[in-house]
Symmetry: C2
Subunit: 345 residues, 2 copies
């Protein structure tokens, strides 16, 4: 049986709507071939069965990214969508100090999604998963009349008493942040303007598109008991400071001049003398953590092993206020740190 | 400070768009207060931390329900949406023979959803969770420009070698199904016609709206090694038979006359002599399982303890064909059992 292929110019892009659910699941599982020996039943049954890791607590997180809310297909390439969907979850594990073990993937896919994009999304996720040796052991696939949305559940492990929470900070603890602040916001802005057409050398665009979860840093902070509290900056630095301080029952003073600002943000700070809101809410997926001054010496070897810059940006206080200080025209100005109430719109 | 309340008739229904993400999460966690002693860190940190159960394997499943695909807000009340979202996951655990332990909840919510509906959805889920003593220990909440969608991840536990898979059936094993077949399809049809306005005594509508995961049955089948393979009928009986037979590398012959049809389906079968497609694809969330004839005596006490009818509906064969037999006008008619290829639309 032969069919005359239609002329190329008339062939519409193949969409996922032309495939069955099982064919699409087969495309996913082909990209996640790893079957560690602790995986007793993998993809293809009613549920997966795993052997837990001995003498470890389990750390569980689920996060969802939705087209038009957390990314925009107009300027985020499909592999970056897959990368981000897993990275935001791994960042939560990093903030707890946990080693990632496995992931479950649940996708709601509009039927007009080109199957090449579907494959690229899965590939972007698999590339990040491979780098951290995380098997995707199960999941769910459904069509949706709405936007593409990707739910990932991750499970990590940690020694029982080493989990880093948000609530362990005390007044006097010093506040540190990894990497830089504001890169993701700058990258997002340029991607929006250019419709996704940025140079591969645009580091800030790369930071937005493919954030690197700070797993090694989190694991080392926990293992060496170097940090007293930790959170990731998934909703920006200001929100992270507020969350950590609130959970710990302390205040915080941030030295705005000490912030390791991304070059773009630094220029704007120099010009205006205030840190723009988009910088404070930049979803950089860095770690914000507190260190007891007496244990400060533990931090340097941890940062070196993790190969990551850490910057002291302030300290916890006993008065429950979260403020930023800024030295301008020879005097210190104190103002509340942004990061307020946002409606669910 | 006093404000004159607007006249009642002018007050629009309060929607989730008027709340912050944290306020909505607080509404959820208030409804899931349980903090078992193995829960080391619960809702409110970057991730949850749990102590695994000793000497048990873990069974993991994630499922998603989307408005307009798996339910329709036009005729499914919000508490039933919450019930179904958890029930479909628990049904997967039931099919593995696992005891449910915990759940994670990830919701993508349109901002025009009335907050009363939001609360009722959470309440419907919590009522089912309470009945099975399953804490919701974490999750995610995001807005979406698309339809309401709910992702639930469940984790159960089971003794290492007792997990029921789809692949353990051999030729000669007998096929059984719990409960009845076709009720959910009949209920769905009536709900669609009436716009959700069915009598509380409409058992079929109840079966569609609030399916009961067959957890006790699954646990007892596994514990007593009464079944050789098991699957739930979440995509209907025909699909379940095809999946189980395919995974086990066997064929199956179903005796159509033996099927425990729901009254509505039975009437239509009597009239037409064929089982309607919608009955064969009815998502009844029953269990389909196989029993080795020599172990048949183990089944009766299990069914009695579970308080659930089980019906023998056929047997596994060595020829890989999945067929139904039907006795009409004194002769046996054999035909392929429905449950074919479906596009992802």
């Amino acid at each position: 049986m032969t069919e005359q292929p239609a002329p190329l110019s008339h062939q519409p892009a193949q969409t996922v709507g032309g495939f069955s659910e099982r064919e699409l699941i087969a495309r996913i599982s082909a990209r996640f071939p790893s079957r560690p020996d602790w995986l007793l039943v993998g993809i293809g049954d009613d549920a997966a069965v795993v052997e837990p890791e001995r003498n470890r607590a389990e750390v569980l997180s689920v996060d969802c990214v939705v087209d038009g809310v957390h990314f925009d297909r107009a300027f985020v390439p499909p592999d970056a969508i897959g990368h981000r969907a897993l990275a935001v979850n791994l960042s939560d594990l990093a903030a707890m100090g946990a080693s990632p073990r496995l992931a479950l993937l649940s996708m709601a896919v509009p039927s007009d999604l080109p199957v090449a994009d579907f494959d690229a999304i899965v590939d972007g996720m698999a590339t990040l998963a491979d780098r951290h040796r995380i098997p995707v052991i199960g999941g769910n696939l459904t069509r949706t009349p709405g936007p593409l949305s990707i739910d990932v559940t991750v499970i990590g492990t940690i020694k029982r008493r080493q989990a880093l929470t948000r609530s362990g900070a005390r007044p006097g603890d010093e506040l540190y942040v990894t990497g830089t602040v504001g890169a993701a916001a700058a990258g997002l802005q340029r991607l929006r303007k250019s419709g996704g057409d940025t140079s591969p050398e645009d580091a800030a665009a790369g930071r937005y598109l493919r954030p690197e979860p700070r797993l090694r840093m989190g694991i080392l902070l926990a293992r060496n008991r170097a940090a007293t509290a930790c959170i990731d900056t998934s909703d920006g630095l200001a929100d992270a400071v507020h969350q950590l301080a609130g959970a710990s029952g302390v205040g915080a003073t941030i030295d705005a001049d000490a912030l390791p600002l991304d070059p773009d943000a630094r220029d704007r700070y120099r010009t205006t003398g205030t840190i723009p809101d988009d910088v404070l809410s930049s979803d950089d997926y860095e770690l914000l953590f507190t260190v007891r001054p007496r244990q400060r010496r533990r931090l340097e070897p941890v940062a070196r092993q993790a190969g990551l810059a850490v910057t002291r940006i302030g300290a916890c206080t006993s008065d429950r206020q979260v403020v930023a200080t800024h030295t301008g025209a020879g005097r210190v100005v104190t103002s509340p740190l942004g990061g307020g109430y946002r409606h669910f719109r």
